[in-house]
Amino acid sequence: MPRPGFVLDVDRSTPPMLFWRGENFSLEKLPADRTRVIYPPEPLPGIDDVDGAIRNALLNPLDMDPLPALLTPGMKLTICFDDASLSLPKMRRPDTRQRIIEAVLELAAEAGVDDVHLIAALGLHRRMHDYELRHVLGDRIFDAFHPRGLLYQHDAEDYDNLSVIGETDEGEVVEISKRVAESDLVVYANINQVAMDGGWKSITTGVASYRCLSYHHNPATLQNTRSLMDRHHSALHHSLWRMGEVLREHGPKIFTVETTLNTDTFPSPFDFLAKREWEWTAKDRATFLATQKSLDRVPVKMRRKIMHSIESPYRMTGVHAGFTPTVHEKTLENVYAQHLVDVEGQTDILTMGIPYICPYNPEGIMNPILVMCMGLGYLFNMYRGKPLVREGGVIIMTHPTYRDFHSVHHPSYIDFFEEVLPDTTDPAVMSEKWEAKYAEDEWYRHLYRTGNAYHGVHPFYAWYWGAHGQQHAGRVIIVGGDAPTVRRLGFTPASTMNDALEIAADVVGRSASITHLHVPSVLVADVK
């Protein structure tokens, strides 16, 4: 039986804590008697008969007719699926999306549906490489649909193939893929790794236009998103749900299939990462030392390759299908069951290790902007109720924060770092002054539409993701980062954890309380 998450008070016999440092990790001794560490719950058991569970969900959906009853010969069926940003790290084959889509296709074949399109719901993310599509969908689906052009990736800039569904009460225009809009039935195959994903967000961001996205991906909305993991207190999700209402009234019929994963993230030999330090066996310690030392000694490119080649042995913990909001409520229950940890009160200093990966660099480089996005956007937002750190407190992150960019995936990030960040780090100012230029740049548009680049405006969105955290924190310190790069992000560099705590003392005093967010794996702190 998996143990639930818990909060540990650090005393003098507590071993040093594991921190991510990009493609490597370190052990940091945290001060006794004023530090607590939040450990995530252990992975929940998965469903054994995954295919059976999916089929069962399709045949017994929530608030909708069973899928076979919705399928008729001659209809237009469109299947959308989450892109490579889920799951992180990528899961072992077969991917959940492949299982869902094969189950749907088998029913569709039985019903005699001929007109089927498969669309990767990228939003403004980069197009997936063919091998990634194969990983997500499996060879069978890829080989059957890709050569005929029936499997393709959403293009938020192809205005000939986008159509307006309607407008919300607040004047937000809902504009989505024309094929999706004109389908008789849309099936969405989702993976819900964190509570932020899924629900109406799937369609209203995944197959939406840039214009449609800009209504909620902006500084004002994201500063009022408290937090991303709690949709009832998230301005972003409120906007998405308003759009969802428009979709329900005027849009195509949507049959959502949402799945949840447990947190069994790292296979052997990296499985020690998810263990509690005092439970490390001699073998775990030897593995840690060997891994850390050898990662230190190989070039960063190879380190990256090693880390990105990890495939997670996730297990599926639940699958629900049917009417989007109903399904999503069930999904959230499952997600929270895996992630929630009760935490008493806020802290002065929040520490966290930043890993080698975030949703915007699968197979890529964790560039400085993504470090900010991961720390202040994702990890900071892993709360429900109140942020883990008090307003004006200090956030300490560990990451090498090298000035290194993936020129194919992140072309506009480079310019953002070179042109926008020296000018301002304030999301509101940059949105006003620079966003339009990046959104309309022909080259970025070209690379997004035909290459494997994120949309030109994406670095802004990544930055806005951290807007709430940036506003909330009194100071952000990065331990072990490249100093000029860290400064350009508007943060303070420190060479060791002790230095960082000294610097933090200037802001929150000598006896400030410290909380360490122990990742991996994912957790959501329910702060009372």
Partner: protein, 400 residues
């Protein structure tokens, strides 16, 4: 008198070149440049030929001087200079009557008693350099493209030297500003070479690689005489970036960010490390293999690349130049310029005007006595890294 002199000793040149890889100071020590007592130069013409004795006040160290003393200069100049010579061509000095003069170093037609190509020609004008490479009719003036490379006249790295009336510009400004007039003239000349290419273009983009003295002078010249252009500067060091901004550059970025900055300005694509469009004119004020390659990559088809820094021996793939029909243009001398409004002032008039306008003395970072020439050359060779721009010799208190 005691002066810094360069002799033609190939062994020393070779040693200097090798040593320069280790340390510029060591190269200056083993190199062909030595401080020694030399014979006073003889007046290089008749008493009425217009030669004057100029007492050096400040004399700058230029990139071409450095290339010479650490053995990097091209053998091209072998036949255009006469050994042994006293270097120094960025000079502000004083005539016997006490007037402050700035030297226009080219030993032109008037100095050599040759008919000028047109009336009012500056020393560097014309389309035949024959007079530069042959001794004058009376044999008193040996070959040499300019003062500082000619054994007859002496040069600025000495307490005094000979200069012809045609080379002298009387100025009324502080010495520290005046010593920068010559480099500014070179920079402004390069800046004005952009004009023909951007004629009739609405919003031209001019990229400048490098922001040493020359690059900054170019930026100042562009800002003053090509005011409607967007000036994008790639500068390696923070103080250079700050100065470039102060001199009127539109966008200033680190050198490695220049390609993307130009791309942003032009709104074009990048294909294989080359911009599909780019700057209308790129002015390379560095003159290395890499900088010329970069300049070609960021210049739009049928644009112009101006080489301001002295390139010496480079190895380049010119396929792009051929394909994009890029114009490669050298920029060495000063002469008579044609401004956008059609007026034809001399480059030095513009340089004097510009140095006054931008208060160019802020570029002069340090001065040294001749005795400390090793330190001075080392400082000049590492100027950017050490937060400096222009290094000069101060001979105001020198004894000859």
């Amino acid at each position: 008198m005691r002066a810094l002199q360069v002799r033609r000793t190939p062994v020393k040149l070779g040693m200097a070149r090798i040593t320069s890889a280790l340390s510029p100071a060591a190269a200056a020590k083993v190199g062909p440049l030595e401080l020694r007592r030399i014979d006073d130069p003889v007046r290089p013409g008749g008493p009425d030929a217009g030669w004057q004795q100029v007492h050096t006040r400040l004399s700058g160290i230029c990139g071409s001087d450095l290339a010479l003393v650490d053995g990097h200069a091209s053998t091209y100049f072998e036949d255009w200079v006469s050994f042994p010579f006293v270097p120094g061509h960025e000079v502000v000095g004083e005539l016997d009557d006490g007037t402050t003069v700035v030297l226009e170093p080219v030993l032109g037609h008037a100095a050599r008693g040759v008919a000028p190509p047109f009336d009012g020609a500056a020393p560097g004008d014309g389309d035949d350099y024959a007079h530069l490479a042959t001794p004058s009719a009376d044999g008193l003036l040996e070959p040499g493209i300019q003062t500082g490379f000619c054994c007859s006249t002496g040069g600025g790295w000495a307490p005094w030297f000979w200069a012809h009336d045609s080379q002298l510009h009387r100025v009324d400004m502080p010495d520290e500003r005046a010593v920068l007039v010559e480099p500014f003239a070179a920079g402004i000349h390069a800046a004005l070479l952009a004009l023909p290419t951007i004629d009739g273009v609405d919003d031209p983009i001019i990229a400048v690689l490098g922001a040493g003295t020359m690059g900054l002078a170019t930026v100042a010249g562009l800002a003053r005489y090509v005011p409607h252009a967007q000036i994008v500067v790639g500068a390696r060091y923070p103080h250079q970036q700050a100065l470039a901004r102060a001199f009127g550059a539109t966008v200033v970025v680190a050198d490695r960010e220049l390609l993307r900055a130009v791309r942003r300005a032009a709104g074009c694509h990048v294909v294989g490390g080359q911009l599909t469009s780019g700057a209308h004119v790129t002015i390379d004020a560095v003159g290395s293999n890499a900088s010329i390659g970069d300049a070609l990559a960021i210049t739009r088809p049928r644009g112009r690349v101006v080489l301001l820094g002295m390139p010496a021996d480079v190895s380049l793939d010119l396929t792009g130049l051929w394909h994009r029909e890029t114009e490669l243009k050298g920029a060495y001398t000063y002469g008579t310029e044609t401004l956008a409004d059609g007026t034809r002032p001399t480059t030095f008039q513009l340089a004097i005007d510009t140095t006054n306008h931008v208060e160019a003395e802020r570029l002069l970072s340090a001065t040294y006595r001749l005795d400390d020439h090793v330190d001075a050359l080392a400082h000049a060779a590492t100027a950017g890294r050490r937060g400096a721009v222009k290094i000069a010799f101060d001979l105001r208190n020198a004894t000859s």
